[in-house]
Amino acid sequence: MSRSPFHDVAIVGAYNTVQAKTADQPEMGLLLDSMRGAVASAGLSLGDVDGLNVTSSVQRYNSREAVALLGGNPSWTGVDIGIPAVIEAAFAISAGLADVVLIATAQASEYTDRVKTAPWTRPSNEFVECWGLYTAAEFALIARRHMHLYGTKPESLAEVASAIRSNGARNPAALHYGREVSPGDVLNSRMVADPFHLLDCAVTCEGGAGLVMTSIERARDLDVEPVYIHGGAIERQGMAYMTPPVWDRYGHSGRTAARKAFGQAGLTPADVDVAEFYDPFSFEIIRQLEAFEFCAEGEGGDFVMDGRIRIDGELPIVTNGGLMSFSHAGLAQLLQKPIAAVQQLRGELPEVLTVPGAKLALASNGGAGALFCDVLLVGTEQP
């Protein structure tokens, strides 16, 4: 196949602000921290940025407003979030619309002493609200069907949550740093929406994040290790939290995206050294392993056992602690998956969480309960 235009693009900066249960500064402050931190980690300054994608969860600050902060210099602005924002920026750079793209996002002042639940987990419409449905229950409906079809056990879900939370326990930047969680702790935590216990679910918190991308030519001139984009694809299946999450229809969400991404890369799941899977709930890891074809259908529950997905295992996953332990902040958490992949490959995570010799990382966003799933492949070697 012809060379992918993504292969002309590299990620050169990746940065997370402090993540906290409630941020200690207004959203604008957190956003500026994200912007400055991301360009600094690329060895660049804000004056070098000529493509900008800025979002904020509460104030809804946007790229066109943010262009003014940079003196009107950026001529290209992006609109998407998470992995699609990275893909959108890669298009812009490969088409020559921008040379240095900064993607930055922040969430603050979302939570108060009285309200701690993420608003996007409580959809309000006539097809779900009257049944007492919300995100955990939607993803539980997907998990339950898989357990029925394949005999997947709660112990496998607990192993996933424990493996991810153990990584976060060893990451000083994680919200739950120091909180080691065993599979037994997961199974003994209170039930939220069967089969999900409390510790099968993501945390909520606030924070910001930023990513900087440029052409591989420009990246060569920078004093940082570039991380190359090997492949990426988006998959959308309709209105989540409205349409019933039927396993037969949505259980493989992300397979098409994964096949496209691996196709662009000329690689297979066997080539992946680290998987920064999207981890809103424990079962989603088992599902993605099958959807992305790391294992056969129905085998995800067995795949995750015996230490295979732990930091010293065959396929370490969610190495920064992910949504379950590191952070689950507004729009930032979607961007934090590619950031985790970049930081892992550049050796910027704590040594105890660094996978020796890792060259290729997968990052994903979304899941079956959400009716979307995006995949990004990044690596240390130029494709």
Binding site: G132, L141, R144, M191, F196
Partner: protein, 96 residues
């Protein structure tokens, strides 16, 4: 086709009409919720996807049974539950 859409999601045609369902089906998947999104819901309650005999799926609550007795493939039928003067909801109960 459910949920309702302005065109057919299979052929993108405009010629849609309402069809009455038998109201009978099977539990496709379910979850027992212990932590509600709002305090108005009494826990535990069962949220389910029911596969109707005509082949379509809907989200609903299962009532008239113990949460720990619910199983995938269990036969159920619709039960219109009057919640208030203005609101009646199509919930499902086990058959037999």
């Amino acid at each position: 086709m459910f949920i309702p859409q302005p065109i057919c999601t299979g052929c993108q045609g405009d010629h849609l009409e309402w069809v009455e369902s038998s109201g009978r089906g099977r539990v496709y998947s379910f979850t027992t919720v212990h932590r509600p999104p709002r305090p108005e819901f009494d826990v535990p309650y069962v949220v389910a996807i029911v596969e109707l005999d005509e082949g379509w799926h809907m989200l609903t609550n299962l009532i008239g049974c113990e949460p720990n007795s619910v199983q995938v493939d269990m036969p159920v039928e619709v039960s219109f539950e009057r919640m208030s003067e203005e609101i009646t909801l199509p919930m499902f109960r086990p058959v037999g």
